[in-house]
Symmetry: C2
Amino acid sequence: MAVYTEVSDADLAAFLDSYDLGCVRSLKGIAEGVENSNYLLHTEKGSFILTLYEKRVEEENLPFFLGLMDHLCARGINCPRPVRARSGAALGKLSGRPAAIVTFLEGICHNRPTVSDCSRLGGALARLHQAAADFKGSRDNSLSLAAWPRLFAPVACCADDVEPGLAAAVAAELGFLEANWPRNLPRGIIHADLFPDNVLFLGEEAPGLIDFYFACADDLAYDLAICLNAWCFEADGAFNVRKAAALFEAYQRVRPLTPLEIAAIPVLSRGAALRFALTRLIDWLHVPAGALVHPKNPIEYMQKLRFHQKITDVRELGLAQ
Amino acid sequence: MAVYTEVSDADLAAFLDSYDLGCVRSLKGIAEGVENSNYLLHTEKGSFILTLYEKRVEEENLPFFLGLMDHLCARGINCPRPVRARSGAALGKLSGRPAAIVTFLEGICHNRPTVSDCSRLGGALARLHQAAADFKGSRDNSLSLAAWPRLFAPVACCADDVEPGLAAAVAAELGFLEANWPRNLPRGIIHADLFPDNVLFLGEEAPGLIDFYFACADDLAYDLAICLNAWCFEADGAFNVRKAAALFEAYQRVRPLTPLEIAAIPVLSRGAALRFALTRLIDWLHVPAGALVHPKNPIEYMQKLRFHQKITDVRELGLAQ
């Protein structure tokens, strides 16, 4: 949610010279995407998103992200399509930053998703997993189980300033997850950040999926666990089992889960809750100077974690065994 | 440059029910306007800007701003036109805030304006002054000479932390301006904030003028002095007399300045420089928690002030006497 790099009209004109997009009609920095600078660009050829990749995104991963979007579009997934310069390159340089243009997706986020939204999400997520199955690129999940202790170590000392007892709770959960993380689940490319603000609804169309900059190879069911946390709790923190059931049911209509995956959902959900609690904790404690991201409260995800810690049967999560 | 108030899809749908704009196609928070939350709204009827007015804008002034834009559009000025709800109201309520929809202006800001841009600005500013002449509304300038000592008092103690000697320099200039401010100049409605980011260029059309939320009744030539400061200095701080001459010349082709106004430009320019130095100093020292505005360095405007303090003849500013 930021514009970190300002683009001058002269730099923009020079950059667009290498594209077949016609003249610029407008450029507005948009408050979207935590990691990069995003602009809504109108040209004679239509609406586009111009992204300047900031330091937190590793440049060597950009071909993976852009290639994945290309691949998914070709498979009929409703997601942004990278626009190529006349040279054929999807990635260029603007104002000293790597930069790319993708097609603009219409649709609006449903910040308070309904049961029906969760159902549409489930179908879209399963189709995404299937469409990515034959994508040749790969990328390790840099925010997986193995990374969490390293993420936590530098903030462990301050965690109790956010909530008394938080450091011990995280340390205990890290131990539990390390001992109980499922092995040998079906893997593939996952979105890894499919929160409501990354899903655009428009009429009855398949929802548009955006912001692929956490996509990576991981357990497919872990993507569902991320969505369960992000979509199936109410604003007051209550879990909505109808939303969860709708998510799982719609997902499985496209890609049925294996018995191992179903059994793993509670632990994966604990892991997903901890992963977002951890990165939010870090952002909360390190608001970058001038960068102007609204930090999100990490405690929301600790509360979700506590909910998952009490689950004894997947039916409590809306899953039929 | 911020989105302070988040708009839920449900609140937006309810708000738009009272307009004839068709279905929402997308809504993006844009990084534009320091005082308010701005969204770029696409509906079936086209592109619009949705503004939620935040606390720093006084609600009783909103009919003046919206009425002024309406009036200027009717007089052929290229500026946003308030869109009325079916009730006829230009102002509504959204997410607990006063809110309005205006038409979207295409065009891009020229952050490094050329001589030609300054000329086009001068003509547009003069036409704005003429078009506003028969506008019935009025509003005092809450950031005029009388307000500056009150603005400065609470930050005087910290000013030297920003630059040693700053407090004394501002106090001395306030004394000079109080003693030398011109009286009896032609008055009218001024934009009062016509910086390059509020002027949208598109081909050869008259530049689009946006962000009327500082507009007020004041000396017309003071608006020119604001533009002189904002448009006619290079990034390295050097004054560009060709840009100034182009600005004044194009303005006077539409509305010739009186001899009194010409003689007043140096003092008005000192006042304009101090006014922006003061509000930037305040923003610099009081970055609002969570509000996420990039504060601009006040020293840039103190340097412009120092330049103006040395002027002994209006010809140095590109004005023919």
